[in-house]
């Protein structure tokens, strides 16, 4: 796990970079990213014709590249980006490119501690998942990789991949199955028509996905073995947080959506729509975004929908650490709202980012946008300054402080404020 404790929770305010200066220094400055610990801010910058670099705090990487994109900080605050040199691509970490070059590389992902850096790569027309500069060997040539997932510890990498070539307009070939899941380089025994919604259990032992069995027939497949039950449609499965043998997924039957665990329907009530099922941290409760009626959205906790409904949409619900409260971002009549346990907190915003609960569950903190400015809102009310750019606030492990990182007048600040003050 990431060592949040070791971050600087003492310095009240640090001005780490004046990004306004970047605009004078470079031909073009892209949108900034910050490291998880808030200590670094970085932007891809154009330094000349076909020459790019990355500005990090007061400096830049040593070497410019022909192209740079997808700059992302790893959880341990190393800066990665995808770069080209002599028309070939690779990953650069803190300015240092991997030795191996690729035809293409994309979709950087990290293990929770940041030690594992992975990406999808293409080399000599073969696709693969590359982990810390090493492409996982696969006995078959992968025709394509649609997406992949990485376990928390970074030891399990599972990819949705096309393992068989398919001729043009070959309907039979397609329905026989050309897609499979490749786990650490090993494809599952069977192919499927389609694979969606890949999930890896928290312990990294099990891999589940949706699969399509026929034109209108779907199911869940776990470690290559399909559930017996099939459905009219499914959405992505999730694992129980502490029990990697329990998988829950929305399933569609006779025109209604139900929640099913390991193939059995567990909520007796069907919905017009059911999405984003989410376990509480201890795994005892499940919340999901549901529409009991057309265009009436709410959250159902253990199958019981809240009374209040919202007419546009709902994002993914999240539980408080003790699993007693549920917060969700809802959209109603053009405004985004923070809703906790069915009650709207504060006012409507132009945008709201995924909220976090304070450890005691009494405060819900999130980044909000209003009139083009960003701010931190607590229980739906804006606290403190507004920013030109702002990142999701982070609560300290002991629950006493919040780290707020944002840009004001071009200056990048990292602030730590006591939770009690906001």
């Amino acid at each position: 796990m990431l060592k949040i404790e070791s971050w600087d929770w003492e310095s009240k305010e640090k001005m780490l970079a004046d990004t306004a200066k970047w605009k004078d220094k470079f031909e073009d400055v892209w949108e900034p990213y910050i490291s998880p610990d808030g200590e670094k801010i970085a932007s891809i910058v154009k330094v000349g014709e076909g020459e790019f670099n990355i500005a990090v705090n007061e400096g830049t990487w040593e070497e410019p590249f022909e192209k740079i994109w997808y700059s992302r900080f790893s959880p341990d605050s190393r800066l990665t980006a995808l770069i080209t040199k002599d028309m070939e691509w690779t990953m650069a970490v803190d300015g240092k490119p991997w030795e191996q070059m690729y035809e293409y590389i994309w979709d950087t992902k990290f293990s929770d501690d940041g030690k594992v850096i992975a990406a999808t790569t293409k080399l000599d027309s073969v696709y693969g998942i590359t982990v810390n500069e090493k492409t996982l060997e696969c006995p078959v040539n992968l025709e394509s990789i649609a997406s992949y997932a990485i376990s928390s510890d970074g030891k399990t990498l599972a990819a949705i991949a096309q393992t068989l070539p398919l001729g043009q307009a070959d309907l039979d070939g397609f329905l026989k199955g050309t897609w499979s899941v490749v786990v650490n380089g090993k494809p599952w025994k069977d192919n499927f028509v389609d694979i969606y919604g890949l999930a890896i259990s928290n312990d990294g032992k099990n891999v589940a996905a949706e699969y399509r069995a026929a034109i209108c027939e779907y199911g869940i497949v776990v470690n290559g073995k399909p559930w017996n039950e099939k459905f009219g449609c499914t959405w992505e499965p999730v694992f129980h947080p502490n029990n990697s043998n329990e998988i829950t997924t929305p399933v569609r039957q006779a025109g209604q959506w139900f929640l099913a665990t390991n193939g059995r329907i567990v909520w007796d009530k069907g919905f017009v729509s059911l999405l984003y099922q989410t376990y509480s941290p201890d795994g005892n409760n499940i919340a999901a975004t549901v529409a009991p009626q057309f265009a009436k959205w709410t959250v159902a906790v253990n199958g019981q929908p809240w009374a209040a409904t919202f007419n546009e949409c709902l994002l993914q619900p999240c539980f408080s650490p003790d699993g007693r409260k549920v917060a969700v971002i809802a959209k109603d009549s053009g405004k985004w709202l923070l809703v906790v346990d069915g009650t709207v907190l504060g006012e409507g915003y132009d945008n709201i980012w995924q909220p976090v609960f304070s450890p005691g569950g009494d405060k819900v903190i999130c980044k909000v946008e209003k009139n083009g400015k960003y701010a931190v809102a607590v229980n739906g009310k804006i606290c403190g300054n507004t920013y030109e750019a702002l990142w999701n606030p982070v609560v300290s492990p002991d629950g006493t402080r919040v780290m707020i990182c944002g840009v004001e007048d071009g200056k990048y600040y990292r602030k730590v404020v006591p939770l009690s003050d906001i």
Binding site: V272, Q293, F294, A295
Partner: protein, 215 residues
């Protein structure tokens, strides 16, 4: 015989007509609920707008494109509804048995209207026989419906002018009217009931949901 058709049978006809119509409408509404989007897509404003454009002659592009059809079909439908309701002889019957009466239209006018309905029927019959598209979707039921519609008016016309066998024709006339009433809810004559709803739905979908118009 006359007593029966002009007494209990009228009762039965009206009960079946009203009850049947209510049943059909109820049934349509409740089975429409099965499709979850139908009612949320409806809007009163756009329903009314659609109805205004399709119940006033020449108030939409297509009607202007087919003037003859528009004139005949409007005249036909207006006369079909107005003439029987405001005919003096009918109102007197209501007055006699229910003590209810309302405005009436001079007999000469209702006579003309009756002729109009008959002309309409002939026109529709002609289209059924000659227009290839219509022919292709016509079956015996379409002729039957046309006959059911025409008969009360033809017999009414004959009875009014007392052309022959007045008593017998009158009985047939009343019977024909009753058959028509009974037929409305249970045959495609129900388009009379559903017109408002299908228009309202399409108008809503075009206007409310799709931000356009349906005329």
């Amino acid at each position: 015989m006359y007593e029966f058709v002009s007494g209990p049978l009228v009762w039965i006809a009206f009960i079946v007509f009203i009850g049947g119509s209510l049943y059909r409408i109820y049934n349509m509404l409740s089975s429409s609920k099965k499709e979850k989007v139908v009612f949320p897509h409806m809007s009163l404003k756009h329903s009314v707008a659609s109805l205004i454009h399709w119940t006033i002659p020449f108030n939409n592009q297509y009607m202007r494109q087919r003037p003859i059809f528009t004139i005949i079909s409007f005249a036909f439908h207006i006369c079909l509804i107005i003439a029987p309701i405001f005919l003096l002889a009918h109102v007197i019957l209501w007055d006699e048995s229910w003590n209810m009466s309302w405005l009436t239209i001079p007999d000469a006018v209702t006579d003309g209207m009756t002729i109009m309905v008959i002309i309409g029927c002939i026109f529709f019959l002609y289209r059924r026989l000659t227009d290839p598209v219509v022919q292709n979707v016509t079956d015996s039921s379409d002729y039957l419906l046309l006959a059911i519609t025409a008969l009360p008016f033809i017999t009414g016309f004959i009875a009014y002018h007392q052309l022959f066998a007045y008593k017998a024709i009158l009985i047939i006339h009343i019977l024909a009217g009753e058959i028509m009433l009974i037929a409305i809810p249970f045959t495609r004559l129900s388009h009379m009931l559903f017109f408002v709803f299908t228009r309202a739905y399409f108008g809503s979908e075009q206007g409310h949901v799709k931000n356009s118009k349906d005329w």
